[in-house]
């Protein structure tokens, strides 16, 4: 459903509850998980989109999170997986670089 213009994945019951909370004057900040357009999905949208899977090495995904990594894949959005475990979603640009949409703090971490 759309909340404040954002496409978000929510449970069926959440959609109904939001209306009730609005009536009760509760200051709702967010609900569920932001999905974003299918061609530029947020990292956490992976479980809610039907995307082709891109299998990566651990270090490749860490580099993608740090800022981007060159991969052998057609441009487009993918579900990113490491040894068969789905980790998130990302997008390969026309330049062949895989990038993901995550808060900046993750780019600063020494991810392993």
């Amino acid at each position: 459903m759309r909340i404040d213009g954002e496409l978000r994945a929510v449970s069926r019951e959440v959609a109904a509850a939001l209306k009730e909370l609005e009536r009760a004057g509760v200051n709702v900040v967010s609900a569920g998980v932001r999905v974003d357009p299918e061609d530029r999905p947020s990292f956490y949208a992976a479980p809610f989109l039907d995307l082709p899977t891109l299998e990566l090495e651990r270090e490749e995904l860490a580099e993608a999170i740090r800022g981007g990594t060159r991969v052998r894949a057609e441009p487009g959005a993918y579900k990113l997986s490491v040894k068969g475990v789905a980790m998130g979603a990302g997008r390969v640009g026309e330049d062949g670089v895989l990038r993901v949409r995550l808060p900046r703090k993750y780019a600063r971490l020494r991810l392993w």
Binding site: S11, E13, A17, V29, G32, Y44, V85, L109
Partner: protein, 309 residues
């Protein structure tokens, strides 16, 4: 901790832990806290996440909870692992997983998590509800609400609504309520030097006033047959039994029930029914403290309060 405060703290521990007090004190002041992770079953099955971590060089030990593991060895901080960034795990103490387990919510709920940030228990509740129903996760602090909303996204908890709200102002009911209010954190002294160094009996009383105000308000949101779990990561009776005793009085619409699972019993001591000469509700004996030196965890106080049908 200054010697005089330490002595006061030790004396208070002896009153609640009796013959376990010395072990608890030694554990909190001298031992390195263990790390636990909770596998997020909203995103993946336990086995595949464990395999993924083990391939990366993590050694894990099982716990009584099927989705929780103690980290014995890791190539780096668990908060910097890909599994953490991907929301496949949450770094969360084992004792802190007990209150949501005891609340045991069933979809559709709804559930209110009244002091929810940063979201460890909220997202655990979401996975216990298998992503169904509704959890209203409330916190009053704007900065902490941002971190709560991020963790809800990270863990893929589609059944959570995040609200910036003072829980005492809520006017919506729910049959499941978790109240884990801010506290002095005595049960986390082994990993929180700020809590340890700033502890004073006066600070205990300041937190107790806020906790009582919160409990008085949220317990009224519980319909007949509903359940509220009150938990803190502290031991002070003023922040625990006395809060409950003063908020509920002898109101027989509510009862405190013993819901400890068998595996947990030997790691706990029962709640107090008397403090400094004051008689408290007798059913407070069904509340309990987690002995951190026994469970190798944080220390917790937990009470399961039911509203009689």
């Amino acid at each position: 901790m200054k010697p005089r405060r330490l002595e006061t703290f030790r004396e208070r521990l002896e009153l609640v832990f009796e013959d376990r007090a010395e072990d608890v004190l030694r554990y909190l002041l001298e031992e390195r806290p263990p790390t636990y992770v909770r596998v997020n079953t909203l995103k993946a099955d336990v086995e595949s996440v464990v395999e993924s971590l083990e391939r990366a060089g993590v050694r894990l030990e099982e716990t009584p909870l099927p989705y929780a593991f103690r980290v014995l060895e890791a190539p780096g901080p668990m908060g910097s692992s890909l599994e953490h960034a991907a929301g496949l795990i949450y770094v969360q103490d084992l004792a802190s997983m007990i209150p949501p387990e005891l609340l045991s919510p069933e979809p559709p709920g709804p559930v209110i998590d009244a002091c929810a940030a940063p979201g460890s228990k909220t997202t655990q509740l979401a996975q216990l509800m298998e992503g169904r129903g509704v959890i209203l996760a409330v916190d009053v602090d704007p900065k902490r609400v941002r971190s709560l909303a991020h963790n809800v996204e990270r863990m893929g908890a589609i059944n959570v609504i995040v609200a910036r709200e003072d829980a005492t102002r809520l006017r919506v009911g729910a049959p499941y309520i978790l109240l884990d209010p801010p506290c002095t954190g005595e049960g986390t002294f082994h990993r929180d030097s700020h809590a340890r160094e700033t502890w004073t009996p006066a600070k205990v009383l300041r937190f107790a006033r806020k906790q009582e105000r919160l409990l008085r308000a949220v317990v009224e949101l519980l319909p007949p047959g509903g359940r509220l779990v009150y938990s803190t990561c502290t031991f002070s009776p003023e922040e625990n039994e006395l809060v409950i005793h003063r908020a509920l009085g002898d109101d027989d619409r509510f009862r405190i029930v013993d819901e400890r699972p068998r595996w947990l019993r030997r790691h706990t001591v029962p709640g107090l029914t008397e403090w400094e000469g004051e008689e408290l509700r007798p059913d407070l004996r069904n509340a309990f403290r987690v002995d951190p030196s026994s469970l190798r965890s944080d220390g917790f106080f937990i009470a399961v309060i039911e509203r009689v049908s």
